[in-house]
């Protein structure tokens, strides 16, 4: 039989799709635009809610991909899906019997929220920067000192008309809680504040982690969105919010402001969308054929989806979709 399936994107969703396809007797090829597989997880230190090292999850997947003898083309970008396969950016056409789109999401560019001064003020960071600091093993201000007071701001680049991102990115509330706890673990005498509008703890163990952050880690949750930040003479960050539960404006100076950046639709969606059954939501994420029964299917019988290409998801959900997509693909090819 030996039917060939192109898997676009070698993140966790793409790797799992390829693994299951291979188990089902099909021949997957992963095409990944970066130099290595792994997607965003290459940047993350430990994963919520279990604090499992991201490298552990990736190592397992990569090892199995290599053991299964799956072909992986790295440093190649898919530019177009066609009726017979895909076309790479360099013009190479690859024929295949089905395509799995696993191109993931993009991280919101925090410089677009100018009022928070990311890229302008010294000590304004994003959750992505913080993961990098965790990987280096220390959380430091630009001058090399340990921060004594850290504020996290939820919903940066999500739920915000002003940057055309209406959706909730789902995983960032729990990321904010996880990182607040990690900062406290590394710097126990630091004061940590999370400014939120709603706490969306959708996954198993998430609400429990939130409670633990409150009562074991003394993290202070303040319900109000920071309206603006400014840099003080000593290069700290002054922030303004309303403490909406008290009904009064609040201001404070922190050593570090961490913007909890959202997940936006991947740039590939726009390019791959509009043909071969790939339809986009207004948010830019791909729209599955049906939200209940055909979550991993596109409008075309030979194009499938898995992972965050269709909506913000956590790692477990993305991996599960890889299994589901591979199963649907095998049903289609063995029909």
């Amino acid at each position: 039989m030996n039917k060939k399936v192109v898997v676009i994107g070698g993140g966790v969703a793409g790797m799992q799709t390829a693994l299951t396809l291979s188990e089902l007797g099909l021949t997957p090829v992963i095409i990944e635009k970066e130099a290595s597989t792994g997607g965003k997880l290459c940047k993350w230190h430990k994963l919520f809610p279990t604090l499992t090292p991201a490298s552990e999850v990736l190592d397992g997947l990569r090892r199995r991909v290599s053991e299964a003898g799956i072909e992986v083309m790295t440093g190649r970008t898919v530019g177009r899906i066609t009726d017979s396969g895909v076309e790479l950016e360099d013009g190479t056409a690859l024929a295949c019997d089905a395509t799995a789109v696993c191109t993931g999401f993009d991280i919101f560019d925090a410089t677009l929220k100018e009022e928070y001064g990311y890229g302008m003020y010294d000590n304004v960071f994003t959750t992505v920067d913080l993961e990098e600091m965790f990987n280096r093993g220390e959380v430091r201000m630009v001058n090399g000192e340990k921060p004594r007071r850290v504020a996290f701001l939820h919903c940066v680049g999500s739920r915000d008309e002003k940057v055309n991102q209406r959706h909730c990115s789902r995983v960032c509330c729990i990321t904010g809680v996880k990182q607040a706890m990690e900062v406290k673990q590394m710097i126990p005498d630091a004061e940590v504040f999370n400014f939120y509008m709603d706490m969306r703890m959708f996954g198993p163990g998430y609400e429990e982690m939130y409670r633990q952050a409150q009562y074991e880690y003394n993290i202070q949750f303040i319900r109000g969105r920071i309206s603006e930040a400014s840099q003080t003479i000593d290069r700290r960050v002054q922030i303004k919010a309303e403490d909406t539960l008290v009904g009064r404006p609040l201001k404070m100076t922190v050593d570090m402001l961490v913007l909890i950046v959202g997940m936006k639709a991947g740039a590939s969606n726009e390019r791959l969308g509009g043909c071969c059954g790939v339809d986009l939501y207004p948010s830019g994420f791909v729209r599955p054929a049906d939200q209940f029964l055909r979550n991993v299917c596109s409008g075309s019988e030979r194009v499938f989806y898995a992972g965050t290409v269709s909506a913000p998801k956590n790692v477990g959900e993305s991996i599960n979709e890889g299994i589901a997509a591979a199963y649907k693909i095998s049903r289609y090819l063995n029909r």
């Binding site: 008309e161 509008m197 303004k240 404006p249």
Partner: protein
Amino acid sequence: MDWGYSINQPRAVNLDKNDLGVAEKLLRRMPLLQACIGCGSCTATCTAGGFTSFNFRKVQTLVRRGEYQGAYEEMSKCMLCGKCRLACPRGINTRAVVMMIKKELAKQ
């Protein structure tokens, strides 16, 4: 007779009794105000709120609940600078809300 205490006005926002007429009219003219998520960005950035007890988020929420008492006077503290409108993540024309509330309540 002096019982040593008096009976306070009930404090509950009473949605059985409150007349939502003005609120409904306001929301018909400015439907997007219904999308407010109460984030407080407007109040945080408010020029007037920095110096007085004026709280735009709270007052417009009270008006939407049919609590009109004192709202006109509160909204009169607004300097119409428009900063709140720049901050609102729901894209609500908050400054226009101030004007509409004042206009509706002035008729009362």
